[in-house]
């Protein structure tokens, strides 16, 4: 995979082979509720990792600990091999972790450019530099081959679901994200728009970005993912290259937390760093 973004000083450790993001023994409890129990997960750059699990399995909680919304109760997060603590969305942002939330968090009254730059406006002489923002926003959309929007100056409220999702993703990518997390990106979309978004996800990975996708839709997962990680009642019961799974096995893991059928599940701790393809 080609890593597109150049001139990145932090890129060195990744070259040594450590996955971009490593979770080690992450636990999170809300009072008596153990939402995550000792989760180990590797997220390599340039690949799409699908995070699946039943309702309440802890998927959202897991990505929220990565994106700085909750601090884990215990465990370690390593970024490019280095232990980090992510205490706020800002800190996640600074590391290069961008989260596209299920509700997208867009402002309908603002146009595409304004949404893409919200909170990170380019200023010149302390005033908004609209032209520069518009040019960069257009460039980013073009890079991602987002071709369906008519004008980048149209209010986001007038866009279709797939277009909104594209804007939310472009917004994440534009900030030089190294990891893009997407929570149920296709849940609200029709068939063609889903295809559009899956395409976009693949393109992110091609650009060397690590992608974590939460999805309930296994056909989407098998269409787009390079790796699969299954959560069951807060435990990461299995993870590995998508080629190790078929739909039946994935469904069993999701619903029972174990695969009874053939194949030797890499139960529990998953795999070791560097076990990519």
């Amino acid at each position: 995979m080609t890593v597109v973004a150049e001139g990145r000083p932090g890129g060195a450790p990744a070259a040594e082979g450590a996955p971009l993001l490593q979770l080690r023994g992450i636990s999170k409890s809300f009072g008596a509720v153990q939402a995550l129990v000792h989760v180990d997960l590797d997220v390599p750059a340039g690949q799409v990792t699908a995070l699946v699990g039943d309702n309440g399995a802890g998927k959202s909680t897991l990505i929220k600990t990565i994106s700085g919304i909750w601090a884990p109760t215990s465990g370690e997060i390593r970024w490019c091999g280095e232990p980090v603590s992510i205490r706020s969305p800002r800190e996640a942002d600074d590391l290069g972790i961008a989260t596209v939330y299920q509700d997208l968090a867009l402002c309908d009254n603002l146009d595409i450019v304004q949404n893409m730059y919200l909170g990170h406006e380019i200023l010149s002489k302390r005033l908004l530099d609209e032209n520069r923002m518009e040019l960069t926003a257009k460039q980013t959309l073009a890079d991602l081959s987002v071709t369906t929007v008519q004008s980048v100056r149209q209010p986001v409220g007038s866009l279709s679901g797939g277009q909104r999702q594209s804007v939310a993703v472009a917004r994440a990518v534009m900030r030089d994200a190294k990891l893009v997390i997407m929570d149920e990106p296709t849940a609200a979309l029709g068939v063609s728009q889903t295809a559009q978004v899956l395409d976009l996800i693949k393109r992110l990975a091609e650009r060397g970005i690590a992608v974590i996708v939460i999805s309930h839709n296994l056909s989407d997962v098998f269409a787009v993912a390079d790796r699969l990680a299954v959560l069951y009642l807060g435990r990461l019961v299995d993870s590995g290259p998508i080629t190790d799974y078929d739909t039946q096995r994935a469904v069993e893991l999701i619903t029972t937390g174990a695969a009874n059928g053939n194949g030797a599940p890499t139960n529990g701790r998953g795999h070791h760093p560097g076990t990519g393809e």
């Binding site: 509700d103 518009e134 960069t136 073009a142 071709t147 929007v149 004008s151 091609e206």
Partner: protein, 434 residues
């Protein structure tokens, strides 16, 4: 910035980009549409239909009202009456602008009527006997006080998470009390008379004929130039800009409006003495609209107000400070209301303890909403308050001319307000279904 265009070999089909020399154009195919006059008009029509009707309804309403009043009373469109109407309207406009800061956020301030009167009363007391303080000191003090009141409302709303509607309703009631207390405490009966001529000139003074021309021409040159430069820099950057014809039409329109204003205001409207020139009040209001519009459109702060008003959670996740931006909006509402209070007091020549702050604030909100601001947050401009305030002043003034009293005036204003919120609601529906 990041990753400047390096199509990977494995780039999937997406033919449009693959063979396109200029991937820029792909992201937005609208440019072709809008660089011609016809395309521009079509894009504009489409916007209208999708609910972005802009200021069109209020301008249309204003024209209808003008036609009605002119047919009923031939003096309505006389130079003297138009100038008078603009002075009357200045208070509604500025108080409406005060509301716009908060309406954009989806909040409201019901206290601006009394708070503005309180600011004016404080200034009036300070510049009155026995020890008159200088105006340059007393006016800012009045405005700082109203700004501080705004900060108080804002703190209550933000910190205690109280609805602004209720906090400022308390402010409306309490404000009347404070106003009466201030005025009565001054020991001059039920009113504080204002003798300071400079203060009174806020609404009764005029630019000289020559100054009117100079100021207007300068303003037209500056703003026309800015419009031109902005469109040109967009074209140079390869961005969609309005066709040159449209840019020029805008500038010509601006110049025509400026010339019309000078011609109307420079006509002698006095009966016994000569009375002519652009009223200071008009200059102040226009300057205020320009300044505040600039803050809303061109600064980060303004952008954040719109974002918060539409989706506070989205703004928060983007790193926007909800607390500070909202607090500043409340402060600016107070400050703007304070300025409106000065204009109000100057026109009446006094501050009395029976100022009807309740009606004033309703006119203020009505002005903003009639102009096109939304009560639901996320939408509203200063120019909306300007146009809406002129509509209200037109009704107020026109009704007076044709001899209809307060009863009709209130009823007609109510109808216009209903029409305006209906347009707003229909526009919202148009947007969401599009």
């Amino acid at each position: 910035m990041a990753s400047v265009d390096t199509p990977t070999p494995s780039e999937p089909v997406t033919g449009a980009v693959a063979d396109g020399e200029v991937p820029l154009e792909v992201a937005a195919s609208a440019p072709v549409l809008a660089t011609t006059l016809g395309g521009y008009l079509r894009a504009w029509l489409k916007r209208m239909r999708s609910g972005e009707s802009g200021v069109l309804p209020v301008v249309g309403g204003l024209i209808i009202l003008t036609v009605i009043f002119q047919t009923q009373s031939s003096v309505f469109l006389s130079a003297g009456n138009i100038t008078n109407l603009l002075i009357q309207g200045s208070t509604f406009v500025v108080l409406g602008m005060a509301e716009v800061w908060l309406l954009v956020l989806g909040e409201i301030d019901l206290s601006v009527g009394y708070v503005s009167a309180i600011g004016a009363a404080i200034t009036a007391i300070m510049i009155g006997p026995p020890h008159p303080l200088p105006l340059w000191f007393a006016m800012p003090v009045g405005v700082v006080v109203t700004g501080a009141v705004g900060a108080l409302w804002g703190t209550l709303v933000i910190r205690l998470r109280l609805p602004s509607f209720v906090v400022t309703l308390a402010g409306l009631l309490g404000g009347e009390g404070v106003l009466i207390w201030l005025v009565n405490g001054n020991g001059t009966g039920g009113t504080i008379r204002i003798e300071n001529n400079v203060f009174l000139d806020l609404t009764s003074g005029n630019l000289s004929l020559a100054a009117g021309w100079i100021v207007t021409i300068a303003a037209v040159v500056v703003f026309g130039g800015l419009i031109f430069l902005r469109d040109r820099s967009r074209r140079r950057s390869g961005l969609v800009a309005a066709p040159l014809v449209v840019t020029l039409a805008k500038i010509v329109g601006l110049a025509a409006a400026g010339v019309a204003l000078v011609l109307v205001c420079n006509t002698n409207r006095g009966e016994l003495v000569t009375l002519q020139g652009i009223p200071y009040a008009v200059v102040i209001v226009i300057a205020l609209v320009v300044l505040t519009s600039f803050m809303l459109d061109r600064t980060r702060f303004g952008r954040y107000l719109y974002a918060i008003g539409a989706n506070a959670e989205a703004a928060r996740r983007s790193g926007v400070s909800l607390g500070w931006n909202r607090l500043w909006a409340f402060v600016l509402t107070g400050v703007t209301a304070g300025i409106g209070g000065m204009l109000y007091a100057a026109r009446l020549g006094s501050v009395s303890n029976n100022v009807d702050g309740g009606t004033l604030v309703l006119y203020a909100v009505a002005a903003a909403v009639i102009g096109g601001a939304s009560l639901f947050g996320g939408r509203g401009k200063m120019v909306h308050a300007l146009l809406g305030g002129i509509v209200i002043a037109t009704i107020y003034n026109g009704m007076g001319l044709i001899g209809l009293a307060a009863d009709y005036q209130y009823m007609i204003t109510a109808l216009v307000l209903l029409a305006a919120v209906t347009v707003d609601a229909l526009a919202r529906r148009g947007r969401t279904t599009s």
